[in-house]
C-alpha cells in the first residue's frame, strides 16, 4: 500500500519543530505506507489573520521541514488573501521559486467568496497550483465571514474552473457538502479532520466517484492510524482505496510514478 497524505501540519502551534520529532514522524509514516506528505504549515500559530511577516515565517518553517526530508515532504504556501494581491503574489513567487512549493493553502482569514480570493485564484491558474481551502459546514452568521461552508468552496471552484481546488475535511463538509460538489470536476474533497464517521466516505465515492476524494490525515490533530483506518475499514474496493490513498494525489501534485 502506497499513501500520499495531502493534509498535514507536522508543526502545529509550535510543537513538533525539533529534528527528532520530524524524523520520527517520517519513519513512522513510512512504516504505515506513506510515501509523500504535504506540509501545509503551522496555520493557526498567529491566529486567523497573520500579517505578511508571520506568513513568511510560517512558510519558512514549512520549507525547513521539507528540506529535512525532501524526498518525502512537499510544501504548500500558506496565504492570507486579505493582505492584498501584491503581498500574496510576492509570497507565492518567493515560495514557489525558492522552495518549490506545490500548492496554496487557505485557512480562516476570509470566506472563499471574499473578493480577495480573485488574485489568489488567478495566480493559482497562472502557476498551475492546486488550492487547498479549509472548509467546515457553517451556518450563515459572523463565523461565515472567515470560515468557508462547502457551498462557498464549491462556488469558488465553479468561478475558477481552471484551478484544481481541494475542499478540506470530508466529515465536516458532511453529506450536504458532498452533494454540493457534484458536477464540479475541478474540485476534490480530502478526508482530513473530524472523527472517523462511518459511511460518509462510501457516500462521497458513490456520489462523486473515487477520483474525487483524496486522503489527508490532518495530523497532529488526528491520529494517522485512525485516518488511514477509516479508509481501509470502509466498504470500498481495493481500486477505489488506491485512488483515494495515492493515485489521485499523485495526479493532482503531478508526481511522476512511482513517487
Amino acid at each position: 500500500m502506497r499513501v500520499i497524505d495531502l493534509h498535514t501540519h507536522p508543526i502545529f502551534l509550535r510543537a513538533g519543530r525539533r529534528r527528532a520529532d520530524v524524523d520520527r514522524l517520517v519513519a513512522e509514516s513510512r512504516a504505515r505506507g506513506v510515501v509523500r506528505m504535504v506540509v501545509l504549515g503551522d496555520v493557526l500559530v498567529h491566529g486567523r489573520t497573520p500579517d505578511a511577516g508571520q506568513i513568511a515565517r510560517i512558510n519558512d518553517e514549512t520549507a525547513r521541514v521539507v528540506r529535512m526530508h525532501p524526498d518525502f515532504f512537499l510544501g504548500f504556501c500558506y496565504l492570507n488573501p486579505l493582505l492584498g494581491a501584491r503581498a500574496v503574489e510576492r509570497e507565492v513567487e518567493r515560495c514557489v521559486a525558492g522552495y518549490d512549493f506545490r500548492g496554496l493553502k487557505l485557512e480562516l482569514a476570509n470566506n472563499a467568496l471574499h473578493p480577495s480570493m480573485t488574485p489568489v485564484m488567478r495566480l493559482a491558474a497562472r502557476l498551475s497550483l492546486p488550492v487547498l481551502q479549509h472548509t467546515w459546514r457553517t451556518r450563515p452568521g459572523p463565523e461565515r465571514r472567515q470560515q468557508s461552508d462547502p457551498e462557498d468552496t464549491v462556488a469558488l471552484a465553479r468561478r475558477f474552473p481552471g484551478v484544481q481546488v481541494i475542499m478540506a475535511h470530508l466529515t465536516a463538509c458532511g453529506y450536504r457538502g458532498v452533494l454540493e460538489a457534484k458536477g464540479v470536476d475541478n474540485l476534490v474533497i480530502d478526508t482530513s479532520a473530524a472523527f472517523p464517521e462511518a459511511e460518509i466516505l462510501e457516500y462521497a465515492v458513490a456520489q462523486l466517484g473515487a477520483e474525487r476524494v483524496v486522503y489527508g490525515s490532518d495530523l497532529p490533530i488526528r491520529e494517522p492510524a485512525v485516518t488511514l483506518g477509516r479508509v481501509l475499514g470502509s466498504r470500498l474496493t481495493a481500486a477505489e482505496r488506491r485512488l483515494i490513498l495515492h493515485d489521485n494525489a499523485q495526479r493532482l501534485l503531478r508526481l511522476s510514478p512511482p513517487c
Binding site: R137, A172, A194, F195, E197, E223, G229, G233, S234
Partner: protein, 255 residues
C-alpha cells in the same frame, strides 16, 4: 482479543449509519476481532420512554453472550427506579447502566441522578456516562445538544467519590483535564485523538483507566482498533486497554 465498551444497535436518526440488530452487530464485531462488547440500543436515546428499546436490547442479546446488554436509563423520568428494577429483572447479571446527560433532560447534580448512583452502587451495577455519542460540532444543525462539561463532570466525580463511572466519549483534552483535577473514573478511547495520544496517556500512567471502544456504528470500527494497535506502548498496556481493564471493571465472566 478486544472488549468493546461502546457499541450500539438500533438506528440513529441523523446520518446514514448502519442500523444493526444484535445478530448483525455480533457478526460485524467478530469480523474485526472484537470478542465481547457492551451494547446499548440507540432507540433509547431520543425516545420519550427508553424502555421499549431496552427491552428489545435484552431480548436480542439474551442468547448472545458476546454482547453484554447495557440499558440506557433516563433519570429525568419519575419512574427511573422502576425502569432499573425491570432491567435487573430482565438481566439478573446486569453489568452496567448508561445515562446520557445532554440528550435526556437532567443535570448530573440532580437529586434523581444521586439516587440512581446510590441504587447502582447498592446493586453493584456500573454506571456509564455518555459525554457524547457524536462530534457535537457536526451534529444535525437543528439540534442544540451540549455535552456534559468538564466542570460538571468533575463536580459529579467529587459528589460520588466511590462510584467510579466510565466516562464515555471524552476528548483527549477533557480526559487530561479530569485527570489533573483528580477523581475516580475510567474512560473509553473513541474520541481520544491527537498524534501519539494513547502513547502519551500511557506514559502518564493512564493505562489503568482507559478502555477500548469502537463507537460502532458511529465510527468506522477499524479506525479505533488501528489507534490502539499502532500505539507504541508495552504489550501489557495494550492488553489492559484492549480488554483487561474492561473485563475486571465490569466483572465479565470468562474474559
Amino acid at each position: 482479543m478486544l472488549i468493546d465498551t461502546s457499541a450500539y444497535i438500533g438506528a440513529w436518526p441523523f446520518g446514514h449509519l448502519p442500523a444493526r440488530s444484535a445478530a448483525e452487530l455480533g457478526r460485524h464485531l467478530r469480523s474485526h476481532g472484537i470478542a465481547r462488547a457492551l451494547v446499548s440500543h440507540l432507540g433509547a436515546v431520543f425516545a420519550p420512554d427508553p424502555m421499549p428499546a431496552n427491552r428489545t436490547l435484552f431480548a436480542e442479546t439474551r442468547r448472545r453472550p458476546a454482547l453484554v446488554p447495557v440499558p440506557i436509563l433516563n433519570p429525568a423520568l419519575a419512574v427511573w427506579s422502576e425502569h432499573l428494577d425491570e432491567c435487573c429483572r430482565l438481566a439478573p447479571a446486569l453489568r452496567a447502566v448508561r445515562i446520557a446527560p445532554g440528550y435526556h433532560d437532567f443535570q448530573l447534580d440532580s437529586l434523581r441522578v444521586s439516587a440512581l448512583c446510590a441504587a447502582l452502587q447498592e446493586r453493584r451495577v456500573r454506571l456509564i456516562v455518555n459525554v457524547r455519542f457524536v462530534d457535537l460540532r457536526l451534529d444535525y444543525f437543528a439540534l442544540k445538544i451540549q455535552s456534559a462539561g468538564e466542570s460538571a463532570l468533575h463536580d459529579f466525580l467529587r459528589a460520588h467519590p466511590r462510584l467510579q463511572p466510565l466516562l464515555s466519549g471524552l476528548t483527549l483534552a477533557e480526559l487530561r483535564t479530569l485527570q489533573r483535577l483528580g477523581g475516580r473514573f475510567v474512560a473509553d478511547i473513541p474520541f481520544v485523538e491527537w498524534l501519539y495520544s494513547i502513547e502519551s496517556l500511557v506514559a502518564q500512567g493512564a493505562q489503568t483507566r482507559l478502555m477500548f471502544g469502537s463507537q460502532t456504528p458511529f465510527f468506522v470500527t477499524q479506525a479505533n482498533i488501528a489507534k490502539l494497535e499502532s500505539a507504541l506502548i508495552p504489550a501489557s498496556a495494550r492488553h489492559a486497554i484492549g480488554w483487561r481493564n474492561a473485563a475486571r471493571f465490569f466483572s465479565l465472566p470468562g474474559a
